[in-house]
Symmetry: C2
Subunit: 254 residues, 2 copies
């Protein structure tokens, strides 16, 4: 069976993906702050580098798949963590593990969000992420809202993935992304309890066309499909798993 | 097991989807010009109506899924067939079978195309389809190229699906679409051999990032995933199965 790496593996969508892969018989290396195989704070670039080196030394024959799931939510008071963990650590790790993925013609599934499309963004912030300007992103984080940082970072991530997917595909590696809508996890529960962002999150969930938010397992099902041989012709795609919200908010675009 | 309907079931992607569903043990009613359960010319509105009535009488307890796959290619000299079969018959049948799908909280997967996004369109034609103006579409068909009719029709179909998906989801029916890239079927082979459209199709195939066009089975894998319970939180989504072409042509949009 295959060898996979999942970050954010100790909770939420990451944990569900790790479990689902293990049920299929794969070996999965988890990365998270605690309670998993590689404990690392992915907001710290040195720890990102150390994680990449540890994974590469554990998997000298390559990787079948990588799912960078670790992320922090809109309500995090330490705002700079949102771009550092949700964007920079993801891009850094996909690039760092690309040679390992190439060895096995593997696949990565990034975790985007429908917040990339269903709300407005600060284009300056999105562009500074795409320009890989870490210092400016940290500086901008102080003046933007959690929603702007979260959604804008997910938009940048989807654009980065799509741009990067062409050369990756030419080298045999499939990059794709999930775009979850509201999914019941510790992260979103923490947002729901927040006095500032909670009420708007609650209204958002009530408007989901299918009538209910997703469970982490729903996202895991989609991730496993995109990682599998059944998706061997899918590259550069963003798959919305959001109960119909993205289509409701912008039917003419996709 | 479930009961499904697939149009265009005698060849190409439709045949692959019918086979894959049958292998999983489902009952599948095929619709096509010939060689299947219900023989009908879907460019003729009376035959579309008759097909809907036949299906409804065969499945009084409802349907688990519907895949309107029947379509004609860019090189068809009888140009009006492109909007009639690829757009109007699809919309008509999805609406006609909606009550059957509602009975079982079923799903439909429409077959769009990456030609909806990777080329320019005649917006007037796209709008006349969305306005359900059959006469005007047939009239416009004479003055537009096969590529404009095909790609514009697929764009309209994706927009129609996304707009319709909200109320469908609220009623328990999931509408989604595949957006295949070049896929090796009798339809595309006929295009490849055409002296007018062949050369540009060939150049298009050579530029696919993953290096090769898809097989009908690749599209069937994605359709079956979207029809399945594993996709129970996916509604209104357009899943590109095109070897990375859409991401290559428009990385910033999705």
């Amino acid at each position: 069976m295959g060898e996979f790496v999942v970050t954010g593996a100790a909770s939420g969508i990451g944990r569900a993906i790790k479990s689902a892969l293990e049920i299929e018989g794969h070996v999965v290396i988890g990365v998270d702050l605690h309670d998993t195989d590689i404990c690392a704070d992915l907001s710290n670039n040195d720890e990102v580098e150390r994680s990449i080196q540890t994974i590469r030394s554990h998997c000298p024959d390559g990787l079948d798949g990588f799912v960078p799931c670790a992320g922090t939510g809109v309500e995090n008071p330490n705002k700079k963590l949102i771009p550092l963990v949700n964007y920079f650590a993801v891009v850094e790790m996909v690039e760092g593990l690309m040679p390992s993925l190439q060895l096995r013609r593997g696949a990565a599934v990034l975790v985007c969000s429908n917040s990339a499309t269903v709300q407005g963004h600060d284009e300056g912030y999105v562009q500074c992420l795409l320009d890989n300007d870490r210092d400016k992103a940290v500086e901008l984080a102080e003046s933007l809202t959690g929603f702007q940082l979260y959604g804008g970072g997910k938009l940048a991530l989807a654009r980065w993935m799509r741009k990067r997917s062409t050369s990756a595909a030419q080298a045999g590696v499939r990059l794709n992304a999930l775009a979850p809508g509201y999914t019941q996890t510790a992260m979103t529960e923490s947002g729901m309890k927040d006095p500032v962002v909670g009420p708007s999150m609650e209204a958002f969930v009530k408007s989901i066309p299918l009538g209910t938010g997703a469970q982490p397992e729903d996202q895991a099902n989609a991730a496993l499909f995109l990682l599998s041989d059944k998706a061997s012709q899918i590259a550069g795609s963003v798959l919305f798993v959001d109960g119909g919200h993205d289509a409701m908010f912008r039917p003419d675009n996709f």
